[in-house]
Amino acid sequence: MSARETILNAVRAGLDSRKVDAEAARREADALLQDLDAIRPKLPAGALVDAFIARVTSPKVAATAERIKDITELPAAVRRYLDAHDLPPHVALQPAAVLEDLDWVALETRDGVKPDDVVGIGIARWGIAETGSLVFHSGPETPILANFLPLHHIVMVRERSILAFLDDYAVAVAGQRPPRNVNLITGASGTTDIEGSLVLGAHGPAHLHVVIVENDIHGDIDADKSTPGASS
C-alpha cells in the first residue's frame, strides 16, 4: 500500500470511517466565516485611505507614506525620497509598463532588480487598511525578487485598490486562478532573533516607503492573467 493510501485509511479509521459529505462540509466551512466583525479588529472611523496611511506609518508597521494626485507625480516623489535619504539617483523599476512609461527625467532607471540594488520601485495591486499590508501577485510584470533585493523599497498603490480587511482580499480573488506567489508585505524586513531585539533590514529591504495615488491609473499590471477555474 502506498503512503498515500496508508495515511488516508488511517485518517478515515480515526474518524470512525464516517463518509464525508462534501456539500455539508462546504456549508459548515462557509458558516465559520459568518459575522466577521465579531472576530476581527475594528478600523478607525473615516476614509479607508486615511486608516491605511495611519496604519502604514504607525510604529507597528514603521514605514513612511505619502499621497500624490496623479501617477505622473511619482518620479518627483521618488526624487524627494532619494534627496531626503542622501541616495544616488539610480533606481531599479519593477518591469511594469505603468512604471516604465513614466517620464523619469533626471533619474537613471533600470528594468529589473539586481542583488545589490539600493532603491527599487514597485507597484502593489492592493493595500489593506487593517494591517497596512501591500499585496503583490507574481507575473510577467512582477518578479518576486524585486520585492526583496533592494535596500529601499518604494511602492505605489492606487487609492481605489485599498481594501478594509484581509478577508476582503480573499473575497476579491476567490475563484480566480492563483498566481505562483502572493506576497503580503507589511513594513520592512526585520528580525528579533538576537535577544528578541528588533533590527530592520534583516535579509530584505530595510526601508519601505508607500506612495498612494489618488487618480485612477490607466493600464493594469498583468491585467489579463487571472482566469477562473482553480477552485473546486
Binding site: 488511517a10 465559520l32 472576530i39 542583488p115 502572493v182 503580503l184 534583516a202 530584505g204
Partner: protein
C-alpha cells in the same frame, strides 16, 4: 531527533546551573510575553476569534480526508507534485531523493519545525549536500552546531556576545561594531549570494489551502522568499494537520497565530505559494513539490486523549508563558518541540518511555491553555500522559514505592495526622525567615527552589479547635 541518552533530570540540572542561559531565556520570553499582552488589549475580539479558530480547526480535523484530497487535487492542477510520507524517515528520504534527482550541490532552507521533526538537517548532511540555513536564528544554530531551543526563536539560548563570537569566526566579512544591528548586517552579507546560487530550496508551511492548493508561510526576515524564488526546485514539507478550507479561513487563523507568537498583528511577509513558475513569470522554481507528512498525526487523530493537539498552530505562546520552560529553556525537553506543546507531542514521536518525564515537568498552573490561540487543554493532555505512564508501569520503582506509602498513610487519618504533626515540627526547624531553603533529604529539591515554611499547626488541628469553641 534524539538527544544523547542523558536523563531529563540531568539535562535540567545542567540548564539550571548555567547562568547565561537564564539571562538569554528571560530576554526573549519576557519581551514576547509583554508584546502579546499589549496585542491582546488592542484586540478585544480575541476570545471570540479564538473560539472561531478552534471551530475551524475542529471542522478541518473532522473532515480531514476530504480536505487532504481537495488540497491534493488543486495542488496538482496548479502544477505541483504532491508526495505523501507516513513516517519521519520516509519524509526525509523523499526530500533527499528530490535533491539528488535535481543534482543539488547546495540547498537553502527556510526554518520549518516540521523539517526539524523529520530530521531533515541531519539527512541532508548525511547525503553530503551543502545545507544553508537562511533564517537568522537557524543560521546561528547551524554555526553553533546545536539544535533549536524555541520554535519561534530557535537561537534564544544564545546571548549577543556568543553570536558575535560565532559570526566573527565564520563570516567572510564580519561585523566590526559590537551591536546587534552590525551582526544582522554581517549575516545579510554572508548569506545573500548563497540564496541566489542554490539548486534547491526547502521550506515548511503554516497553512495548506484546500480550495487553491497553495501553501502559506509567515515570516519576518524576507529570507523565505529570497530562498524559495531563485532555485530551480522548491520543496515544501508540511504536516497533514495544516489544512484550512480556504484563503479566508487562513486569514482568520493568521490573526490568532501572529499575535500569539510575537505580539505583532501580522508578520512582515505573508506568502502564498501555488505551483511552479507560470507562463510569463519572471522568476520562480521550475518544479514545486509538496511532501505531506503524517508521522504520528493519524495516531493522534484516533486517540481521544491527543486529538485536540492537532489544532496546534505552532505559535510558541505556551512556552513563552510556562514557568518551567522559562527556568529550563528548550534543549532540556529533548525533542523537536519544547515547552508544554513539546511535552504533549514528544511522547507521540519518541515514545512515552523515553519522554515520560516531560509530562511531570509541569506545575498544572494552566497558563498554557489560557494563552493558546486555539484553546488546547494542554494540562489535561499532560495529565493523560501521566496517567498512561502510570498504567503502563513506566514510573520508576521509587515513585511507585513513595506513592504506595503515601496512599497507605493518607487512607489512615490518625497515622496521617501524626505524620503531618511531626513533619511540621521538623520543617519549621529548618526554616529561616519563613522559607525552607535546605533540609536533610531534600537537597535535590531545594537546590534551585525554596518553599514557604508550614504554618504552626495543620489545618485539621485548627479546624478541630474552632469546632470546639462553638
Amino acid at each position: 531527533m534524539q538527544e544523547a541518552p542523558v536523563s531529563f533530570k540531568l539535562r535540567a540540572d545542567r540548564a539550571l546551573a548555567d547562568p547565561t542561559l537564564k539571562i538569554a531565556i528571560d530576554r526573549t520570553t519576557g519581551t514576547a510575553e509583554r508584546k502579546r499582552a499589549v496585542a491582546m488589549t488592542q484586540f478585544p475580539q480575541f476570545e471570540a476569534a479564538r473560539e472561531r479558530g478552534k471551530r475551524i480547526k475542529n471542522h478541518v480535523i473532522a473532515n480531514l480526508d476530504h480536505y487532504l484530497l481537495e488540497f491534493e487535487r488543486n495542488a496538482i492542477a496548479s502544477g505541483a507534485k504532491v508526495h505523501w510520507a507516513s513516517t519521519a524517515e520516509e519524509a526525509s528520504q523523499i526530500v533527499v531523493a528530490l535533491c539528488k534527482q535535481a543534482n543539488a550541490k547546495r540547498v537553502t532552507r527556510v526554518k520549518s519545525m516540521l523539517g526539524e521533526e523529520i530530521g531533515l538537517p541531519h539527512a541532508l548532511d548525511e547525503a553530503g549536500i551543502e545545507r544553508v540555513e537562511t533564517d537568522l536564528a537557524e543560521h546561528i544554530v547551524q554555526l553553533g552546531g546545536d539544535r533549536p531551543s524555541h520554535i519561534v526563536w530557535p537561537s534564544m539560548h544564545r546571548t549577543r556576545e556568543q553570536v558575535s563570537e560565532m559570526f566573527k569566526r565564520a563570516h567572510r566579512v564580519p561585523h566590526q561594531e559590537e551591536t546587534i544591528e552590525a551582526m544582522v548586517a554581517s549575516a545579510r552579507r554572508e548569506l545573500r549570494d548563497k540564496f541566489l546560487s542554490a539548486d534547491v530550496s526547502i521550506s515548511g508551511a503554516n497553512f495548506l489551502i484546500a480550495d487553491t492548493g497553495a501553501t502559506c508561510t509567515v515570516t519576518n526576515e524576507g529570507n523565505a522568499e529570497l530562498t524559495t524564488t531563485p532555485p530551480r526546485v522548491h520543496i515544501v514539507t508540511a504536516g497533514i494537520e495544516k489544512l484550512v478550507p480556504s484563503t479566508e479561513h487562513a486569514f482568520l487563523m493568521l490573526r490568532l497565530l501572529v499575535r500569539s507568537a510575537t505580539g505583532a498583528d501580522v508578520t512582515q511577509y505573508t506568502t502564498f505559494h501555488c505551483g511552479p513558475k507560470q507562463a510569463g513569470d519572471r522568476d520562480g522554481p521550475e518544479e514545486f513539490h509538496i511532501v505531506l507528512v503524517d508521522n504520528g498525526r493519524t495516531r493522534m487523530l484516533a486517540d481521544p486523549a491527543l486529538k485536540e493537539m492537532l489544532r496546534c498552530l505552532r505559535c510558541g505562546a505556551c512556552m513563552n508563558h510556562c514557568v518551567v520552560f522559562r527556568q529550563l529553556g528548550g534543549h532540556v525537553y529533548g525533542g523537536t518541540y519544547p515547552g508544554p506543546m513539546g511535552a504533549v507531542l514528544t511522547p507521540v514521536f519518541d515514545g512515552l518511555e523515553q519522554s515520560r518525564d516531560l509530562a511531570h515537568a509541569c506545575t498544572m498552573n494552566g497558563k498554557c491553555q489560557e494563552v493558546c490561540p486555539v484553546a488546547i487543554p494542554i494540562p489535561t493532555l499532560l495529565r493523560g500522559w501521566r496517567d498512561r505512564s502510570w498504567r503502563e508501569g513506566l514510573e520508576p520503582a521509587a515513585a511507585r514505592f513513595g506513592l504506595g506509602i503515601h496512599t497507605f498513610v493518607a487512607s489512615r487519618p490518625r497515622l496521617y495526622r501524626l505524620g503531618t504533626a511531626i513533619a511540621i515540627k521538623v520543617m519549621r526547624l529548618f526554616s529561616r525567615g519563613g522559607l525552607v531553603r535546605g533540609m536533610p533529604g531534600l537537597g535535590a529539591w531545594t537546590k534551585y527552589r525554596e518553599f514557604p515554611a508550614p504554618a504552626k499547626r495543620s489545618f485539621m488541628a485548627m479546624y478541630k479547635d474552632s469546632e470546639g469553641k462553638r
